[in-house]
């Protein structure tokens, strides 16, 4: 494949008409939640763009993010893989393996020095680099080596973005995120456990069309992570009125009441679940009756518990209060004892207190 050809030229050389290309741009703009006025802009940008080489690195992950990507509907995976990007390396999807695969990766990196895109899913263990290796090379080394000539890095999923489940207390493998290890390249975080398929492809196409998107303070594209679940939740009227489900499948739950009491982390979670939804807009966890886990936020596994309400303190406050009261009793008794002894001594010595002793007087 001639890398100097633009995407537009490549598509036409494969018999994909410009009309089909316009359809692709329209549906992609829709998935990216861009206004229709942007469709000609996307078309022009993609028409002139060259297919970037993409190297996908899978580290300490469950492959859920790749699974999610392959469930993407709008920009189909075939469209994406074969037409818009050149996926030069991906463990699960590639046909090659072993030495041939590693050679392909090295060749792609050399040929596209400074211009290729690195996509990472999975966290990187630093406790002992041997915890996760590919062809005998540790994830840490592969990441650092591959990042050197990259134009940008996209961390797909909460593991790559923030450490995810391996990073959860007590983090036995010393798992860290991509941004913990690399700080001299632009990094886009696309968190979620997994991220919504349409969001994954939407971010990739957005990056390829317009370059680095506007990111929030956790490195997430504002286009998809700018709204909290709570602010777009269809059950919000129930929250505002104070109508909550008390337990799963109780009367309130069946009426579709707010799941705050069941531990919903919607108020502090930023993702596109409430608008874009899952399975081609079918539903999302809250609509299915389960409280939001907050899976696109850092350390959501240690967020106090999936079923503990957001307002509750995470510790065992009841026990703490009782112990503190007990300590108070002991301390109070001790202080009281000392005061009493002093008073007795004073009485015994027949000392009279004057107004100066009391600290008053002017």
């Amino acid at each position: 494949m001639n890398k100097d050809q633009t995407i537009g030229e490549i598509l036409r050389s494969k018999g994909i008409s410009r009309r089909s290309f316009l359809k692709f741009c329209a549906t992609t703009a829709s998935v990216m939640a861009l206004p229709p006025a942007m469709i000609p802009v996307i078309a022009e940008a993609l028409e002139k763009a060259r297919r970037p080489s993409v190297i996908w690195l899978s580290f300490q992950e469950c492959t859920g993010c790749t699974e999610s990507l392959t469930r993407s509907y709008g920009a189909t995976i075939e469209d994406l893989i074969f037409n818009v990007i050149s996926l030069d390396y991906h463990h699960t999807l590639q046909a090659a393996s072993g030495e041939a695969a590693e050679a392909a990766r090295a060749a792609a990196m050399a040929e596209n020095e400074g211009k290729y895109l690195v996509i990472v899913d999975g966290s990187i263990p630093t406790g002992n680099p041997g915890y996760s290796t590919i062809a005998g090379v540790s994830n840490v080394d592969i990441l650092k080596e591959t990042a050197k000539g990259a134009a940008a890095i996209v961390s797909i999923g909460t593991c790559a973005s923030y450490g995810g489940i391996p990073h959860a207390d007590p983090n036995p493998t010393g798992a860290v995120s991509v941004s913990d290890l690399i700080n001299d390249k632009p990094i886009i975080n696309v968190p979620g456990c997994p991220p919504i398929p349409a969001v994954i492809t939407g971010v990739l196409v957005q990056f390829l069309t317009f370059g680095l998107p506007e990111l929030d303070d956790l490195g997430r594209p504002k286009a998809f992570y700018g709204q909290s679940i709570h602010d777009r939740c269809y059950r919000r009227p129930f929250y505002d009125k104070g109508l909550f489900a008390e337990s799963f499948d109780d009367e309130g739950a069946r009426k579709g009441w707010c799941l705050y009491k069941l531990g919903c982390k919607g108020p502090t979670t930023y993702n596109a679940c409430a608008t874009t939804k899952w399975n081609d807009g079918t539903s999302f966890p809250i609509e299915a009756g389960h409280p939001c886990l907050g899976c696109s936020e850092p350390d959501f596994w240690d967020g106090g518990g999936f079923y503990k309400a957001l307002s509750k303190p995470t510790g065992d406050i009841g026990k703490t209060a009782i112990y503190a009261a007990g300590a108070g009793l002991l301390a109070g008794a001790a202080i009281g004892g000392v005061m009493h002894a002093r008073k007795q001594a004073a009485v015994h010595k027949h000392q009279r207190a004057t107004i100066d002793d009391l600290g008053e007087g002017s």
Binding site: D217, L218, S228, H230, D231, Y239, D240, K241, G242, L243, F244, Y260, K261, P267, T268, E297, P298, D299, D302, G303, G304, A309, L310, S311, K312, P313, T314, G315, I317, G318, T320, A321, I322, Y323, A324, A325, A327, G328, L329, A331, G332, A333, I335, G336, M339, H340
Partner: protein
């Protein structure tokens, strides 16, 4: 530190520390009051201490006609913000969940939009109180730093809580964290300021009623 880390900190270790200081502090203070003891009253009892004490604990909540005429603004604004605080703290479902965590049981709450309105009324009453304190020459003369501090740590959770509920002014995780932090500030200062009157006023009222009751007089 990100907003998320901040929120986890206030919900975790900070809340534990605040709970310890509040509970231990209040217990020490109350124990101190009781251990001070009372001078034995050598006169013969003419009535019942306990009856007088218990009666006064409740009866003192009703202001007498003279007090009400002289200081109606003080009495009314005081009642309004105290009742408002009671509703906002104990009848708002997310707060009831905190008590459920601590005590092991909860209770039904009021509709959240009603609590929202009452919070606004509470804030207004507290502002009225401050303005009155600053403008009235006697109150101004009597007021000390501790009075203004107590006012501040009382109104701060109501204001930050209202902002957190409406998600105004900062990213919501930060708003919630700031609200919880303001509550922790209140908890930590509680035993060391006049805010502890929430617990000690019952002792004081009982004592006043008991003295009178002992003498056979209605307090």
């Amino acid at each position: 530190m990100t907003d998320v880390d901040f929120l986890m900190w206030v919900r975790g270790p900070a809340f534990n520390v605040a709970t310890v200081i509040l509970c231990a502090g209040i217990v020490v203070r109350i124990l101190g009051i009781f251990l001070m003891g009372r001078k034995p009253n050598l006169a013969e009892a003419r009535g019942s201490e306990m009856v007088g004490g218990l009666r006064t604990m409740l009866h003192r909540s009703i202001p007498d006609a003279g007090t009400f005429k002289r200081s109606s603004l003080t009495v009314i604004s005081g009642w309004v913000f105290h009742l408002g605080l009671f509703v906002v703290i104990f009848l708002f479902v997310p707060h009831i969940l905190v008590f459920e965590q601590a005590l092991g049981f909860g209770w039904p709450g009021l509709p959240s939009n009603i609590v929202d309105a009452i919070a606004v009324i509470t804030i207004i009453a507290l502002l009225v109180k401050l303005i009155h304190r600053l403008r009235d020459p006697v109150l101004r003369m009597l007021s000390e730093f501790g009075d203004y501090l107590s006012w501040f740590v009382t109104i701060l959770p109501v204001v930050t809580g209202w902002l957190a509920f409406h998600r105004l002014g900062a990213p919501p995780p930060a708003l919630i964290a700031i609200h919880i932090l303001s509550v922790e500030l209140l908890m930590v200062l509680f035993p060391f300021t006049k805010l502890s009157h929430a617990f000690t006023l019952w002792i004081a009222r009982w004592y006043n009623g008991a003295i009178s009751g002992y003498r056979g007089v209605r307090s």
